[in-house]
């Protein structure tokens, strides 16, 4: 029997120390140990991007990483984007642009979009589409997802107070 390892990981600004089996995937750790079910498992084969989180600020697929590899690192999930109960601009933009239908791809889409905008704050439409090539959406046809990312890049997302209620649900 393989021995477990003790890891310390900062997830959404909280430090956790846990014993984990080396084969435990990061996405399983987030969902099953920490209860952070906002990060979803879609294909489980590194294709769909639903499990996208940030590791030290850049996007990774958490189904294709072991929790032990995150030892000593900082992870941000969709649950860590809102600030003081207020949705982040990308979350508001996805809401306002109706950038989702079933919503399953949404956490991964938003996390990848955040990473994309971090690297390229003013992407062209083609750069947005290329930047989201590792995230599959089977409902929307991507049009409104691209529009939501553009809205954030162009600073046209409204910050109306209705959004605060949604933060608890995100």
């Amino acid at each position: 029997m393989a021995s477990s390892k003790t890891i310390t990981v900062e997830v959404d600004n909280v430090s956790y120390t846990d014993d984990v089996e080396p084969r435990l995937l990061l996405v399983q750790y987030l969902r099953e140990r920490l209860g952070k079910t906002g990060t979803l498992i879609g294909c489980d084969t590194s294709n769909c991007g639903a499990c996208t989180v940030h590791l030290d600020g850049v996007s990774v697929k958490s189904c294709t990483m072991f929790a032990v590899q995150a030892d000593g690192h900082r992870v941000t999930t969709i649950e860590g984007l809102a600030r003081d109960g207020k949705l982040a601009p990308l979350q508001r933009a996805f809401h306002q642009c109706h950038a989702l239908q079933c919503g399953f791809c949404t956490p991964g889409m938003i996390m990848q979009s955040a990473s994309l905008l971090e690297e390229n704050p003013h992407p062209s439409e083609q750069e947005i589409r290329d930047g989201l090539e590792g995230n599959l959406c089977r409902c929307t046809g991507y049009q409104n997802i691209v529009a939501a990312v553009r809205a954030v890049a162009e600073g046209t997302v409204s910050s109306d107070s209705d959004e605060t209620e949604t933060a608890g649900v995100a």
Partner: protein
Amino acid sequence: MIPSAFDYAAPNTVAEALSLLALAGDSGKLLAGGQSLIPVMKLRLADPQMVIDLGRVEGLAGVREDGDALLIGAMTPHHQVATDPLVAAYVPLLAKAAATVADPQVRHRGTFGGALVHADPAGDLPAPVLAAEATFILAGPGGERRVAAADFFQGYFTTAIAEDEILTHVRVPKYTGWGAHYEKFTRVAQQWSIVAVAAMVRVEGGTIAEARIGLTNMASTPVRATAVEQALAGAPLTRDAIAAASSHAAEGTDPASDLNGDAAYRRHLAEVLTRRAVVTAAGL
């Protein structure tokens, strides 16, 4: 999908990693970015008893100058290769190829050395590294050894690296005054190359002085299109001359047939993509 159970070690130095690898023998496996190994382990096509994670080894990530060459650390992520200013200045072919690997998340995590050692015939880095005449620097129990790219790739997922060795760096000559392009053909986003062509061209006046062409997925290893290179050397810088030279692209190749296309289709693609790659690399 959950991999078989394994023991895990995360050494801090190459020496420590080498002794762990020696200790583990056949049952040990090195983990770089994991973007190929972890999917294979999840499918249980691989079930190493000991996984040695190179992610914490000092000095294996990053790009630096080494005289007339660049030293690219094996643990440098694809994203960094694609955006590094030294790579852009001296071996833009590698930056262009690295930017086409998989998708952004995989490029953040997957590594230059990991992809080369994995040696997938459809992988995007072996052909550019072969065309650029890079040298692989391997650390082993007996010290360091260097292997030319032409000798490194030996077959499907098979390289010259021994079971007790670790790839630490890839040394790539600096190319000044060369144009470069990586032309990749896929059906859908984030797919492996059906065929791709890595081209570097040096133009003098109205003439192609030299060309280096590497082909992806045209055999069990990356291959140099030497007949194209010879036809381009000294050829006039015209689309017609490039098209004529590119008609030799499939010579000496042995492409596989699969659901994405049969061998004849791949040979045709090699000619078309070579023409496009050289035209772009030459700045036409």
